[in-house]
């Protein structure tokens, strides 16, 4: 089978799309592009995305690092190197960590969806806080190390619970696949929940997090960098 090259040499602003035309099929071998960041508004991550016919992004292959405004890069995407790219001196980490730097109020005895306002890193393309600040959406099928930590407003009464859901939301009745429940610390100090687990997911799945507390009053959680939710790809199956 002869290789073909589909080429666009002209310069255009990102994003630049090529949609496979009717009655055709492509098995890509390599995709390359030159990105000129001389007029970039901010630092940027060169990214290849693959969209299904409805326009939804089904996969993202971001570069391993971001490049400052002003920098230009020539990028080659090859299959089988490991998502996110590799180099001779490093192993690409495919994963996402989001944090809640503002405080979130959680009512007494109410299953509550936890929200986030900051992306610490996202080499897996899982976070889109503007669209949904509760979810990490899986772009690569495989096994994930999913972690969460939440600290609570000081209060010594009864229990605190934090947990993880997959393809459901705790506040809407979703079931937790992992959780950490503990009695509040007495004698002062914040109670903190945290857990790490391994979970299998396929493209399109999402992870979310939830909390519940029964102190008798509304409590706040969040407001620091220790309030985070992360998912790191361990490997494909």
């Amino acid at each position: 089978m002869t290789d073909i090259a589909i080429r666009a040499t002209a310069t255009a602003s990102v994003p630049r799309d090529y949609t496979i035309p009717g009655a055709q099929e492509l098995l890509p071998k390599v995709i390359s592009a030159s990105l000129d960041g001389s007029a970039a508004a901010t630092a940027y991550i060169p990214t290849l995305q693959i969209l299904e016919p409805g326009g939804h992004v089904m996969f993202s292959a971001p570069a391993q690092t971001s490049y400052p405004a002003g920098a230009s890069v020539d990028v080659n995407w090859f299959p089988g190197l490991g998502v996110g790219g590799t180099s001779a001196s490093s192993v690409a980490v495919v994963g996402t960590r989001i944090e809640m730097h503002a405080s979130q109020s959680i009512n007494n005895a109410t299953n509550t969806n936890l929200t986030y306002d900051t992306v610490a890193f996202d080499t897996a393309g899982m976070a889109n806080l503007g669209a949904d600040n509760r979810k990490l959406t899986v772009q690569v099928s495989g096994l994930y190390m999913v972690c969460i930590e939440r600290a609570w407003q000081v209060n010594a009464t009864n229990r605190r619970l934090v947990g993880l859901t997959q393809n459901s939301l705790y506040g809407s009745g979703g079931s937790l696949f992992a959780d950490d429940a503990r009695l509040a610390i007495t004698g002062g100090g914040q109670t903190t929940n945290g857990l790490a687990t391994i979970q299998q997911a396929v493209v399109g799945d999402f992870f979310a997090s939830g909390a519940n507390q029964d102190s008798g009053v509304a409590l706040t959680s969040g407001g620091g960098s220790s309030e985070y939710f992360s998912a790191i790809l361990l490997g494909t199956l």
Binding site: I4, T9, A12, L26, A40, P46, L48, Q64, P79
Partner: protein, 68 residues
């Protein structure tokens, strides 16, 4: 001089019509960074259904290999 970057993508991709390859530049929130320009976009692929002339449209041209 532009930096050279190599990035992985899934193996054994086999995409029918309607699927889209998108080259973009994102910030850490997933938003598109304005002002970034792309050029010299190349997709090297097998086209098992033949009739490769249909793959060239709009700003995209087709460059056949030496054995074509």
């Amino acid at each position: 001089m532009a930096q050279k970057v190599v990035v992985g993508m899934p193996q054994d991709l086999d995409l029918p019509d309607g699927w889209t390859f998108r080259i973009t530049a994102l910030d850490t929130t997933g938003a598109v960074v304005s002002g970034v320009k792309v050029s010299n976009l190349d997709i090297i692929a097998d086209a098992p259904l033949g009739n490769v002339d249909t793959l060239a449209y709009g700003p995209f041209m087709l460059v056949l290999g030496p054995d074509a």
